[in-house]
């Protein structure tokens, strides 16, 4: 199916959810409300004409100061059977930054969602193993947010201070007592 036809089909099915459809370089993005994301993804996966069995990627984008809803969670979908692709974007406001996890539909979303949380602080409801993935568990802040400084926070991470401290102690350590 042509990408625009797919977008129309989605709009037909969920007229209230679709906020906009945009085409650029032959790729179509459908912007959604975040509320019924799980339902939509189940539809996209199960509808035989669409059959998006392969979730390429889930990622977040931070539109700080550019859009009303600060975050967007972007899903790239592909159907290996029909060889067509679509991009679904769910808008997530900053004050209620939670969205349904699509793990019941695509297991592969597992680490992508964890990473999205790690990097942007978007919470995925219903994720079975929800914690940080790339950053240390006790890290403060979400590094890919636009207001996060490029060279890292001023405050050192406690884990690093701990390592420094231990290195200092071991320097004084006598190996043969």
């Amino acid at each position: 199916m042509e990408p625009l036809a797919i977008a129309d089909k989605i709009k037909e099915k969920f007229p209230d959810e679709v906020l906009g459809i945009k085409e650029f370089r032959g790729q179509v993005a459908v912007t959604m409300k975040k509320g019924r994301m799980l339902e939509i993804s189940r539809y996209l996966h199960d509808e035989p004409e669409l059959y998006f069995d392969y979730l390429i990627d889930v990622c977040g984008v931070d539109y700080l100061g550019k859009k009303d809803n600060r975050f967007e969670v972007v899903y790239h979908l592909y159907s290996i059977k029909h060889r067509h692709a679509i991009r679904i974007k769910a808008e997530v406001p900053e004050n209620d930054s939670s969205i349904d996890s699509v793990m019941p539909v695509w297991v592969g979303a597992n680490w992508h969602e964890r990473e999205c949380y790690d990097m942007y602080g978007v919470v995925f409801k219903g994720h079975p193993d929800f914690r940080r993935i790339l950053m240390p568990e006790d890290w403060e802040g979400h590094p890919l947010r636009k207001d996060y400084p490029l060279k890292g926070p001023v405050k050192e991470w406690p884990g690093f201070l701990d390592v420094l401290d231990r290195a200092k102690r071991f320097r004084e350590f006598e190996w043969h007592e």
């Binding site: 984008v61 931070d62 680490w111 790339l134 490029l150």
Partner: protein
């Protein structure tokens, strides 16, 4: 039996495998809960190599961010470069000239061979055979030398450019590459003699880490793992980029989805890559290697000081970056590990507003618990080897 179980209390043994471990290929850490030798639970921990490449990319121009892609999958940096420039070209709406496309295809397949060779060597080394590892490095050395001849660096090449390639190839490079291409199948036969039919190898890999086709797709696996399960999905065939639609090649497919099938698929891919290389050399057309798109590519060096317009372009493109139309683009390319995708959101400036790297190793590492649980410790090693992850790409 029950009495015995009541008398002796058994406990699971928790072993932290990695980040420093000979078989975890970098800094992957697996926490294994063992019941005897059986793995009950396997939890991967990643992020030890997290360098924030996405954040760095958002703070550099589209041109300057290219060397960052070298550092994703540092074993096949050429393929990452090709993926990166293809995505950026798609965003810019420009196209590389024919000759550059062929050269890119050529070097990408060289990168594929060199990456698969390392995969073969380390995978077999993990299973215990040391010799194929060194044979494999003998051939990799040839490719590394060729890369050096091509662009002056062996590992982090940064060779392709947005709109073409950095420099034209030399005749010596082409001749030596062709010699390598003619010679390589016999080297492949050597590896296969040592490994493919070996009963110990088969005992270690047949039926290990089985994943069905539906499940593999659902997990989002790509590359040899997906094809080993019998799914005919290859970005080079499905959405051809560069010159892949002009060369003739097959996509090897497995059947059972176990370690052995994945091994066979990768070996087949190496032979196919060799075939593509041969065709690329023979069909290589004449012509420019950089696109004629002055707004998006650096002007030719010798014109910069002669021509005012070129000088202005040089300054603007380097300091501010190109003026990119607003929009967003996802472009996937087939790298040795799977599908490497770049997703760019452009806000009209010379720097990407969002640069997302869809790294195959990241997804492949997430499937490890699914493959390992219920098996033995030795199977964990076989599985890590077969999914062929590079932590630089996984952690970004």
């Amino acid at each position: 039996m029950e009495d015995i179980e009541k008398t002796f209390e058994t406990k699971e043994l928790t072993v932290s495998m990695g980040p420093q471990h000979p078989a975890t290929h970098g800094v992957l850490r697996l926490v294994l809960n063992l019941d005897g030798e059986t793995v009950v639970k396997c939890t991967p921990y990643v992020g030890y190599l997290h360098r924030g490449i996405e954040k760095l990319g958002e703070n550099r121009t589209y041109f300057s961010a290219l060397p960052l892609s070298d550092r994703l999958d540092y074993i096949a940096s050429m393929n990452n470069n090709v993926g990166y420039v293809n995505a950026v070209e798609k965003l810019f709406g420009i196209e590389a000239p024919e000759r550059a496309k062929f050269i890119r295809t050529m070097v990408a397949e060289m990168g594929r061979i060199s990456s698969h060779i390392i995969w073969l060597g380390t995978h077999v080394l993990d299973i215990g055979a040391t010799t194929p590892f060194l044979y494999a490095f003998r051939e990799r050395e040839v490719i590394m030398d060729l890369f050096e001849m091509l662009c002056g660096a062996r590992l982090t090449v940064s060779y392709p450019r947005v709109g073409g390639v950095r420099n034209d190839i030399s005749q010596e490079f082409l001749d030596r590459l062709y010699e390598f291409v003619l010679d390589f199948p016999s080297k492949m036969d050597d590896y296969e003699t040592l490994v493919t039919e070996n009963r110990i190898w088969k005992a270690r890999t047949v039926g290990i880490g089985v994943i069905s086709a539906e499940e593999a797709i659902n997990w989002g696996l790509t590359g040899a793992i997906l094809r080993g399960s019998g799914v005919d999905y290859d970005v080079r065939k499905y959405a051809p980029y560069d010159a892949y639609d002009k060369v003739d090649f097959d996509v090897p497919i497995g059947r059972k989805g176990d370690c052995y099938d994945r091994y066979l698929v990768k070996m087949g891919e190496m032979r196919q890559a060799n075939r593509i290389l041969k065709q690329c050399i023979e069909k290589l057309p004449a012509g420019p290697v950089m696109a004629d798109a002055p707004k998006f590519t650096l002007p030719p060096k010798d014109m910069v000081l002669k021509d005012m317009e070129h000088l202005i372009h040089q300054f603007i493109l380097i300091t501010k970056g190109p003026t990119v139309p607003e929009g967003e683009v996802y472009m996937g390319t087939e790298v040795p590990k799977g599908e490497l995708g770049f997703y760019f959101v452009s806000d009209g400036t010379g720097k990407p507003y969002r640069m997302r790297v869809r790294a195959p190793s990241f997804i492949h590492a997430s499937v490890l618990p699914r493959l390992c649980e219920g098996g033995l410790i030795a199977d964990v090693i076989a599985n890590i080897g077969t999914i062929d992850i590079v932590l630089g790409e996984c952690d970004r």
